[in-house]
Symmetry: C2
């Protein structure tokens, strides 16, 4: 099984996706996917039976607004991504309660992949993460030290890691640092041969994991 | 002119909106409006000639993702709302450049209205705000001290303030503390008589502003 999540920030044809699905078993939607493809497209992609579909809404609002958004997209995803910095009371408390009741997963962003993100807030975000107790966390692959920190602080939680490929991190590095899945988008969907590139990325990741001998556990 | 922005987090009929438009000249869309009403509804509402339409996406992503989202919704709004905590490089720098080029406004969230929001990060966010130099800021009406701080720090910027009504702040208080506009949603769209309530809110706000004698300037 590959440790890759396809960031579908572009509309790829369903037949191509079905082929990519042989190498990459998880997919991440975003507002870009929704705006470009519409709800109908998301519905068709969801039906392709991925191991997990994650909706990356980067939720960062008050509780009632986040729950309204998530409830409208509930049938199109297994898990949702929210920011942690918004805090607990009146925000993540009710969102987590809602998602648990709906049997949906929540991933909290603990560190982003772009240059301007400030990791000095991590002690604060970690505290919120402990209170929320979500399924897992998002930590940028461009932040190897942060992946190690979050892995040490939350040994049982799933870590998913964006920023691989176009954003600069090498395939496999985030896994070797402690992540469970690497999120790859542009390298695949901007390619003329997304199927071949998917296979290539899967093999590169496997080679790298073999090299560092850090095979992720199957966390639930 | 009323100092009210209607938070359209629900689908209100166009004829009712046309009547509300007599008392409230600005409207704020959110993902809830988009998901419930669809792009076609937003397009029709936009045509009602508001003084300003603001799309409250609470953007909080890397530059390329935020720009993809905003460019898909460009023709439906005059301004967009983004979080500030995501930082400058690789996020707000490019977003601000893009929006300026498109003649669109940007409002940065500096303080939210719910209990869990932590204002101890304000000095950091203020620094980012100074670098971005946006059209204005979002500061929760439930945080009177923060409205005063932001007004003192940014005398020329527009402050828009959510959290009025259902979330606890009294109509007019945010204006008296230094905000330019109060954002009101549920009190209006959950009412059986949204038109009458809109007029009532407008009059209450005017009375309150007369009481505190703090009429906002016309900031651009």
């Amino acid at each position: 099984m590959s440790r890759i999540i396809l960031a579908l920030d572009s509309v790829i044809g369903l037949s191509t996706l079905t082929k990519i699905r042989e190498y990459i078993s998880r997919v991440k939607f975003s507002y870009v996917t929704l705006l470009q493809g519409g709800l109908g497209y998301l519905r068709e992609v969801y039906k392709l039976k991925w191991d997990e579909v994650i909706f990356d809404l980067k939720l960062a609002d008050i509780d009632s607004t986040m729950i309204s958004i998530v409830s409208a997209l509930r049938d199109l995803s297994d898990s949702f991504i929210s920011h942690s910095f918004i805090g607990y009371e009146g925000a993540l408390d009710s969102l987590m309660t809602y998602l648990s009741r709906e049997n949906k997963g929540l991933y909290l962003v603990l560190s982003m992949s772009h240059k301007g993100w400030n990791d000095s807030f991590y002690p604060y975000l970690k505290n919120i993460a402990e209170r929320v107790n979500p399924k897992g966390f998002v930590v940028g692959a461009t932040r190897p030290e942060m992946i190690k920190n979050v892995r040490a602080d939350f040994p049982q939680k799933i870590i998913i890691s964006p920023g691989v490929g176009f954003q600069g991190a090498e395939i496999g590095d985030a896994i070797c640092n402690g992540a469970d899945f690497e999120i790859i988008g542009r390298s695949i969907y901007s390619s003329n041969e997304p199927e071949r590139i998917s296979l290539e990325i899967k093999e590169k990741q496997e080679a790298k994991i073999n090299e560092c001998k850090k095979v992720p556990k199957d966390r639930k």
